[in-house]
């Protein structure tokens, strides 16, 4: 459990830094005293059990929620992210877990929402071309970009949400389970993309429950448990180590299932 010295970090000052962030919803404390640093040119993986508070943290960074307490600094300056517009203005792009798409708008309109070309005379042709290009880049399989998002499959929607975040030139990009609903090819493209983005010097936060993917791309793995920091790992950490930190116990469902499966295989091939 060592705080790592990420080699690919270009500057020593974190772009975005959280200190002592807490968030209460009524009687539930979703986050308690969480710290997090995001450096430029670095992929931070945020992992944790269901309900550990990962999305809540991301929403706070995206300006969608206000923290109950704690401070946020961006480029060393203390900032208040009072609303998503403020976060976007600082250059924080976000793919939310619940996608936050407008079901009644078509794919093109969703991708460009809030950033339309030619506000007074929308340039639909250019937007449509750009949309197709982005989607091709993500290996998306969407028959038509002129259908309302309501008619898309789960994975197609997720692709649209990711395409949205690629439009602006952000400083930091937050991806909340970006590949959860994606097919194998699309997942591969998104992982490629995340690496490309990191190499361009952006700070990336990725949330995922897929430890393999996490270890494949992350430079640093931050674990949350029941709303609290529960360790920081290097991608070299073993699966067992990570799962223990996430579940808070050595003996957990994963290890038990692993043992059981192994026994069964042995039992079958005596």
């Amino acid at each position: 459990m060592a705080i790592p010295d990420t080699p690919s970090t270009t500057s020593r000052q974190p772009v975005l830094s959280l200190r002592g962030i807490s968030k209460n919803f009524g009687a539930v404390s979703a986050l308690t005293d969480v710290d997090l640093d995001i450096n430029a040119g670095e992929i931070v993986a945020l992992v944790g059990d269901n309900g550990a508070g990962k999305s809540t943290l991301v929403k706070i960074l995206a300006g969608a929620h206000m923290p109950s307490s704690g401070s946020i600094t961006f480029d060393g300056q203390p900032v208040t992210l009072a609303n998503p517009a403020a976060a976007l203005k600082l250059g924080i792009a976000t793919v939310f877990q619940d996608l936050a798409l407008c079901e009644n708008l078509d794919v093109v309109a969703n991708i460009f929402l809030g950033r339309e070309l030619h506000p007074l005379r929308l340039d639909e042709v250019s937007m449509e071309v750009r949309a197709w290009t982005l989607l091709k880049e993500l290996s998306a399989r969407i028959p038509s970009v002129r259908e309302p998002v309501a008619s898309l499959s789960g994975g197609q929607r997720q692709t649209v949400a990711i395409a949205r975040s690629l439009l602006m030139e952000p400083r930091v990009i937050l991806l909340d389970e970006p590949t959860a609903a994606l097919g194998v090819a699309q997942t591969a493209e998104v992982l490629n993309l995340i690496e490309r983005v990191r190499d361009r010097g952006l700070g990336v936060v990725m949330i995922s429950h897929n430890m393999e993917d996490v270890r494949a791309v992350a430079d640093r793995i931050v674990v949350l448990r029941l709303g609290r920091n529960n360790g920081i790992f290097l991608p070299g950490a073993s699966n067992q180590e990570l799962v223990t930190a996430i579940t808070g116990a050595d003996d957990n469902a994963v290890s038990r299932r692993g043992r059981r499966t192994a026994e069964k295989v042995q039992g079958e091939q005596p």
Binding site: N83, T94, G114, E116, P143, S151, A185
Partner: protein, 417 residues
């Protein structure tokens, strides 16, 4: 970039998916239309069919109905509530409601009467003042929603009562106020029609524009590697539009002609349609109505959007009030009471704007108000007691919408509600 084996790899950018049926060419267009019939995706066509049905019935019952003179009256009458309904479309788009449009329109006509006739202000100033009051009203509703989270149903209900009181109050000492008959404003509301050559010329514009803009767009799309409509199709459409409009104009010109007030209404509808469909503001309105939180997360200033919707609605309501005062030549105590609210909202809904936000179009106000006024006008041509008139209005209204509902029903069963 993957180059997964597509059936037609050299195809257009937006036609690459092999699951898309080919819908180019005349045959494709027809099949596409049948597809849309089957899946209930026909836009306002069903309401138009309902309208045609209503007209046919009334025409059989009393041939005066389709006489040009009656139609000209109809157009005059559509314009005032139509403009109010256009404002309603705005607030419905963002999923809110304004119950006070009737009162606001009544107040604005009262203001016109008092300021212009009683206090002797120049008419233009009085008009601006009345519209300004509307604008401020809308802003207050938006403020109550944005800052206090007060549902618009309640705030505008309060407004309905308060402004009705204000209207009566400022008209109090005198009761209704007559506007001068010979003033340009009253003329505009009662008599002014386009010179025939103007109406014929204007009737050409939509077709020509559709052709030119359509052609330019098709070319741009082609250049960008996107599918595009054929020139033949565009031309056909333009010719149909032009011929239809010229015929209607010719017919109306047999009587007095096309009212300028109606032209104003249509102009506002077209402008609103452009604003809703082709500007960032309109996109934001639709987004806020569809999913407020998603719009907020996209960085849209949701509060400003609400403010614009309410302000526009109340300003249009005030405008409608001014025009109905002009039409009546009176700032009446009754102005804006009675059916105005319900008709304005119903017109928007009948035309296809959703009460739940995010779906609608400026044209729904035009179409809806024509349906409502046609029923009203058709029934005045039949010798009926009020009780029967109410019953029939109810039934005919239902019929007009049933056509639409039947068409849309398949939409649901095809999984695209």
């Amino acid at each position: 970039m993957t180059t997964a084996s597509d059936r037609n790899p050299g195809a257009l950018l937006d036609r690459g998916d092999e699951r898309l049926k080919d819908r180019s060419g005349a045959k494709g267009a027809i099949r596409g239309f049948l597809d849309r019939v089957r899946s209930g995706d026909l836009g306002s066509l069903p309401v138009v069919v309902g309208l045609v049905l209503i007209c046919a019935i009334f025409q059989t019952l009393n041939p005066v109905f389709l006489q040009p003179n009656n139609l000209v009256n109809l157009l005059f009458d559509c314009s005032t509530v139509g403009i109010i309904s256009l404002g309603i479309v705005c607030v419905l788009m963002v999923g809110e409601i304004d119950l006070s449009v009737g009162s606001v329109s009544g107040l604005s006509s009262a203001l016109l009467g008092v300021l212009w006739v009683q206090w002797g202000w120049p008419v233009a100033l009085a008009i601006v003042a009345a519209m300004a009051v509307g604008f401020v009203t809308g802003c207050v509703y938006a403020l109550l929603l944005n800052r206090l989270g007060m549902p618009s149903f309640v705030s505008t209900l309060s407004g309905l009562l308060a402004f009705l009181g204000l209207q009566l109050y400022i008209l109090g000492p005198t009761g209704s106020i007559n506007l001068p008959y010979d003033s340009p404003l009253v003329n505009f509301g009662q008599l002014l029609v386009m010179p025939h050559w103007v109406s014929y010329t204007l009737a050409v514009v939509p077709g020509v524009l559709a052709l030119l803009l359509g052609y330019r767009k098709a070319q741009r799309r082609q250049a960008a590697g996107l599918s595009s409509r054929s020139f033949g199709g565009l031309l056909l459409q333009a010719v149909v539009i032009t011929v239809a409009l010229e015929l209607v104009t010719y017919y109306l010109n047999q009587s007095r002609g096309v009212p300028w007030m109606f032209a104003l209404f249509v102009g506002l509808v077209v402008a609103m349609n452009y604003a809703l469909k082709r500007t960032q503001w309109g996109r934001s309105m639709t987004a806020v109505g569809g999913n407020r939180e998603a719009a907020r997360r996209a960085g849209i200033n949701v509060r400003l959007i609400y403010a614009s919707a309410f302000a526009l609605c109340a300003t249009l309501a005030a405008t409608g009030g001014l025009l109905s005062a002009a039409r009546l030549a009176t700032a009446s105590q009754q102005a804006g009471t009675g059916d105005v609210n319900l008709n304005a909202i119903a017109a928007a809904v009948i035309g296809g704007t959703s009460l739940f936000g995010g779906r609608g179009s400026a044209y729904s106000a035009l179409l809806g108000i024509i349906v409502i006024q046609s029923i009203a006008s058709g029934l005045t041509l039949l010798d009926l007691s009020s009780s029967l008139r109410y019953m029939i209005t109810g039934c005919v209204l239902a019929i007009a919408v049933i056509v639409d509902s039947l068409a849309r029903r398949s939409r649901v069963s095809h999984g695209r509600a």
